[in-house]
Symmetry: C2
Subunit: 257 residues, 2 copies
């Protein structure tokens, strides 16, 4: 079956959705089949992949709480090789609804039926900016967690809390949960603070920090308004080459593990 990777960091605006969309597109470009599950009530991954609100009839909310079948929620996107379970703002009531449900952190794991997932190589779970039940569900369902880390002071502060949460999920519900990697995002080489954050991250996390660093590149923030990944919006951009390099690095890590 596929490798299920949660893309998570409770710090907001660090590049989770941008990484989910563009890494999925880069893997698809290399012939992999990728399913993206949008677990963020903002639905940014769904919008960035061109799914209009009116087309989001069955969503991640239905998958988690209304017994919808995975195969019915999955839909194609304009990117060949990338499919999605879309999200709407309904998902913002999921946390409270799940708080009152038995087995509330394994609802997603149970919804991901192996037969439907057979045809995918990767499943990405785009998480909201919190350590809520939605993110915990993703961590329980995943084989590994990819952590986008913005090269900023506040972002570094949250990393140790995220690692503590991963450890407690590993001990309580998902003993096989690994760290896929920590990927530096919005990196500006001219900025001292960014260099400090990188040095700090590599010192504390070692080889878990990906070799590939995603630079700050305006083409990445423009692409979603055209419902494209950066790979087709501006194939020669620094953003495109960075996510292609990250895709190769992820495949290499996957093959080794």
């Amino acid at each position: 079956g596929p490798r299920v990777v949660a893309i998570a960091n409770q710090k907001g605006g660090v590049g989770k959705t941008t990484t989910a969309i563009n890494l999925a597109a880069a893997l698809a470009e290399m012939g992999k089949a990728v399913l993206l599950i949008d677990l963020d009530p903002q639905g940014n991954a769904s919008t960035g992949l061109g799914i209009a609100i009116t087309e989001r009839t069955l969503t991640s909310y239905d998958l988690l709480l209304d017994g919808a079948r995975l195969t019915d929620v999955i839909r194609t996107t304009p990117i060949a090789g990338v499919s999605i379970c879309p999200a709407t703002t309904d998902l913002s009531s999921a946390d409270i609804a799940m708080a009152e449900t038995e087995g509330r952190t394994s609802l997603l794991r149970e919804a991901l039926d192996a037969a439907t997932l057979q045809r995918f190589d990767y499943v990405f779970l785009d998480c909201p900016p919190s350590l809520s039940l939605l993110t915990l569900n993703a961590m329980v369902a995943a084989h590994s967690v990819l952590v986008p880390l913005q090269a900023e002071f506040f972002a570094l502060e949250g990393l140790s809390q995220l690692m503590l949460t991963l450890r407690s999920v590993r001990e309580s519900a998902n003993p096989d949960l690994r760290i896929e990697g920590v990927v530096l995002t919005m990196y500006d080489r001219r900025n001292n603070l960014a260099q400090h954050v990188e040095a700090d991250a590599r010192e504390t996390m070692g080889d878990l920090v990906c070799r590939t660093v995603i630079p700050r590149n305006v083409r990445l923030s423009e692409a979603p308004s055209h419902a494209q990944s950066v790979l087709t919006y501006d194939p020669a951009s620094k953003g495109s080459s960075a996510y292609r390099a990250l895709a190769r690095e992820i495949i290499e890590r996957h093959d080794q593990s």
Copy 2:
């Protein structure tokens, strides 16, 4: 009593905490007394104001759920005129704990006792990046909401959902809730997308969009690692002059309303 302003936007990383800290410092520089209540489990506002983890004995969690008195939770910060109710990661379990409590969206409003607040001119509520019970508590307790809006596509998408939530809070629990303003953040004039977002926001929100625009300025992201506001870290920076201008604009708006 003071004007209570929630600084909210469910989109992550748009400058909520940066605005809370630096606007508070700019108002204090003008002689106002400001209380900042950190409602984000990340505790970024507490860290940015130099409150070490070991010094956060009583926190916003205790205020909301353990019956701690506001006067006991408030502590001073290194910035004259700025006090804080600090937060720790304990707050991340607040949502689930509040979900099971009677009157769960007015816990903060009830904890803000008027006698203690008398000595302040402004109370800022720094919200987490979600429309969770913590943010709803802030909207129920506040007179108005200040919305930092990053000049980016995904950030604009969330604005209408935020406005819907404000309307439903106004209808259900807080009829006087107003919009203090929408303030554009991390604005880069050379960037087409930013200009589009500004034009779009001014067209849909009109005068609610503040005249003051906060430019992208690396000094703003460096200041918190020195536990200073940008006003003392680099008083002559673009970030400092922008937040001073925003403070003057807020005072002007307050005087008119």
